[in-house]
Every structure is written in C-alpha cells, then in structure tokens.
C-alpha cells in the first residue's frame, strides 16, 4: 500500500492512532469499533473514545460498506469521566 500523506492524520488523539493504522486494522478483519480498538488502541485512552468513536465508525462504514446504524458503538463502560481511585473506593462520587 502506498502511503498517502493524509494517512498520517491522527484519528485517536489520546493514543495517537493514525488513519493508516485504522485502515490496516480494517484490512486485517476488524468490522466494529471495538475490534478496531482492540487492534489499534483507538478509543482506549483517557477520553475513552469520546473524540474518535464517531470518526472510526465513519471510516468503518466507508471501508466496509456497512450502514452506520449497523456498526456497533464501542461499548461505553463506566466511569464516563475519569475518577480518582481514592474517591471511587469510598463512594464519595455519588450524590
């Protein structure tokens, strides 16, 4: 595959995953946002995919021809915002 300049575009900023790496993951068989995440770490960073999830879905839809609605969103898992362990363990985050 010839390297296009735009392939270097960073899609996941937290983990610095480029468009090229995402395209490679899809070429290797990734079909969902989660599978792209497992192979590239896109969406595994501090923001947990808040920024890149949509972009990754769009790239998947475009590459695989699946409609956006069929591409499973990467599973959202609590917490939605990073919480320090000292706070979580004592339950002070509730309220």
């Amino acid at each position: 595959m010839s390297l296009e300049p735009e392939d270097e575009v960073i899609i996941c900023r937290c983990e610095e995953v480029s468009l090229k790496e995402i395209l490679e993951a899809i070429a290797e068989g990734a079909r969902t946002v989660n599978e792209v995440k497992m192979r590239t770490r896109a969406g595994m960073g501090l923001c947990q995919g808040k920024t890149c999830r949509r972009l990754v879905s769009q790239i998947l839809a475009q590459q695989t021809g699946q409609p956006m609605g069929e591409i499973m969103p990467a599973t959202f898992r609590p917490p939605v915002r990073p919480v320090p362990i000292g706070v979580l363990a004592t339950g002070d985050d509730e309220g």
Partner: protein
C-alpha cells in the same frame, strides 16, 4: 480442500490449537461466531502465572511458560511477552505461616521462588503499604497481551495454511451411527470433517450438548478496573497480588475478592480481581468495583490519586476442580475438548494447543493427560453415588 480438523472458538485457546495443529501439517479450519478474541480472551489481565495448585496446574503452567518464550520469537508480531516476575503479598501476620508452607512446598517441587520479609518489601516496592507481613517473589512469572497473542496465533496458523472463519457460528455437529464426527454445521455452511476441537470457553457446555456430552464448565464472572497510564516507578514488579488470591479460587458462593495489580505495556494498570457466579451476565456491579478498589488500595495506597478510565466484567470458563479439561470426548469419536481454564487460560493456552495437537497426531503428550480428562468428572459422580 476439506479440513482435517475443525476448531470451534477463536479465543486464545482455540487459536493456540489451530497454531500447534497447523505446525504439524494438519489442515485446520477455525470457526468463530463473532470475531477473533471477542469472548473471554479480550477480558483477561496479563499474568502468566506459575504457582497454582494442584500439581497438574503447576506442570501445565511451567510447560506453557517455556512455550511462550518460543512463541515470542516465532509469532508474526509482538505479543508483549515479558519476564516480569510476580510478587505475592501477605497482609496479616496470622497468614504468614500457611503462606510460608505453600512457598516451601512449591520450592520442593522445583519452582524458583523466594520468601521476602516486610523489610525486603519496603526496599523493593517503596509505594506498598508499610505494614504488610511479607511476601514472596516468583521470578519465572511473566506477562503477555492476551488479545495480541490470540490474533498472532491465528495469523501464524493462517500463514501455515489454516483457514480462519470469523462470523461463523456452529449450530450442530453431525455424528455417524457409530458416533463418529462427520461434519460441523455452521451459519456459513456445512463443513465435513472427522475431527472437531471444542474450544468454546464458557460456551463449551453448549457445544458438548450437541453431541450428547455433559461438559461441566460454567461462567465465573470477574471485574477489572483500568486506570490511566501511571509512571513506571509506581510499582517496580509489574504483577503484584495478594497471596490470598489463591484462596479466592476455591470460593463457591458470594463475591470472592483479592488485590491483583498488573501494569501493562502501555502503562495502564489493570486492577483485579473478583469471582462470582452470575450466569452469562457481564453487567458491571458498582459495589463490586468499590470493594475491589478498596482491596487494591489496602496494598498500594499510592493508587488513591490515580484515575480510573474504564471498568468491565469478563466470564472465566470455570471447571469444578479448577483444572482444565483437555480431553477426548468419551464415546464420541473425533471429538476433542480444550476448555475450563478459569483464570489461567492465557497462561495455559500454549500448552493446551500443544497437547491437543499431540493427541490428534498420536504423539506422546508433554504433560500427563489423565488428570485433564473429561472422564474424571463421571468417575467422581460414580464414587459419590457409591458413597
């Protein structure tokens, strides 16, 4: 060309079976209902553990760790294998004596490990709680990325000619009148074959039912907490767990819990570990997360200021005696079973694949097979019945 063997399950165990079979020149077709590593193998921590009881597990683990050394070289991409060693911590003075006995018994069986005093611990890991009773260091333990390992084993098998068929769910297994396997029915077509390997993890009991075999494997849930990447010097040994971890394996009710801290290649911490039986439910229980965090904080107070970025639950394939089932299916010719690894399936995947390939190609087994047989459960029932 028709496959010689159909492997059911694209987790770390099934992919290892495919890999070791393909290496022997066997034509393999691996079928997976979702994508590779979409089951338990993506939910695990990263510990290649060598000090589990009973003795057969210790033997499997030692053999498997050696295979990992070779796999790290052989596989087509990096699986993040490192010889990190592991550190077991004893919380209370009252627990020291039984732990010391365990370590001596492991040493007597040839495992390299050293007891550590609380002073040793403070020196080696200054961020640990200062009031622990002591611990032990297991230099042979290691770490690996289970997802990358699953994908790399599948890729290597494919490079040797195996067919890997994701999004293919097995719906039935056809037997001849003499109860020999003749074909596997799937959502993407019928695959004629004389041999199948059931490596379907927590779903392996359902596959057993298809041929009338009872495989006593059930899901055992475990919660994991993922933190932001932390500085490399927070913990020097990348796998630190409470010595009480080994006792939680035997619990049969409630939520058994123990501290288990692992730092991955990317710097994040994976905090375990809990065990409870809740069927196939993978819902995260906030009260378990809280208690699990509190357990880990007790041993590593420096965690207090570190951020959690994610939590999840996975299902361990639990076998009632905590020993995996690596076996022929009695009374069904051509049916093999590779499952029930509970919390050590990442550790034991390489040896499991090797043993299955040895069984199928009629080679002498690396580890004795009798304690791993499915038959042991029916014998046990028989004995119970006879009193």
């Amino acid at each position: 060309m028709l496959p010689d063997v159909v492997v059911i399950g694209g987790g770390i165990v099934g992919c290892s079976c495919a890999y070791y079979l393909a290496r022997e020149g066997v034509r393999v077709c691996l079928v997976e209902k979702g994508n590779l590593a979409s089951g338990t193998s993506r939910a695990g921590q990263s510990h290649i553990v060598l000090w589990e009881e009973p003795d057969i597990n210790l033997q499997l683990e030692k053999a498997s760790r050696l295979l990992y050394e070779a796999l790290a070289e052989e596989l087509p991409f990096d699986i993040e294998y490192r010889r990190t060693g592991s550190l077991a911590l004893v919380e209370n003075a009252g627990d020291w004596e039984p732990f010391e006995r365990t370590v001596h018994s492991l040493q007597a069986r040839g495992l390299d490990c050293q007891l550590l005093t609380s002073t040793d611990l403070c020196r080696l890991e200054p961020n640990l709680a200062p009031d622990l009773a002591g611990g032990a260091y297991f230099p042979e333990d290691a770490q690996v990325n289970p997802i990358l390992t699953t994908l790399a084993l599948a890729q290597a098998a494919k490079n040797m000619g195996a067919e890997i068929r994701p999004f293919t769910e097995v719906t039935g297994i056809e037997l001849s009148a003499e109860r020999k396997v003749t074909a596997v029915d799937t959502t993407t077509g019928r695959i004629p074959t004389a041999i199948v390997v059931n490596a379907a993890g927590v779903w392996s009991a359902a596959i057993g039912t298809m041929v009338g075999l009872e495989i006593p494997v059930i899901p055992r849930r475990g919660h994991i907490i993922v933190t932001e990447p932390v500085p490399d010097n927070l913990i020097n040994c990348k796998i630190i767990l409470a010595a009480g971890y080994m006792q939680t394996l035997g619990a049969t009710s409630g939520v058994a819990m123990s501290a288990n801290i692992q730092q991955t290649h990317s710097g994040n911490l994976l905090l375990g570990s809990s065990r409870d039986f809740g069927g196939f439910d993978r819902t995260v229980r906030p009260e378990v997360i809280r208690a699990q965090l509190a357990r880990n904080l007790r041993f590593l107070p420096a965690l207090a200021n570190i951020h959690v970025i994610r939590t999840y639950a996975g299902l361990r394939p639990y076998s009632p005696d905590l020993v995996p089932i690596i076996s022929e299916g009695d009374g069904v010719k051509g049916f093999y079973i590779a499952t029930g690894h509970e919390g050590a399936g990442i550790t034991m995947a390489p040896i499991t694949g090797k043993l299955i390939s040895e069984m199928i190609t009629s080679k002498a087994p690396t580890v004795p097979l009798e304690p791993l047989s499915l038959r042991r459960f029916s014998h046990r029932q028989e004995e119970d019945r006879l009193g």
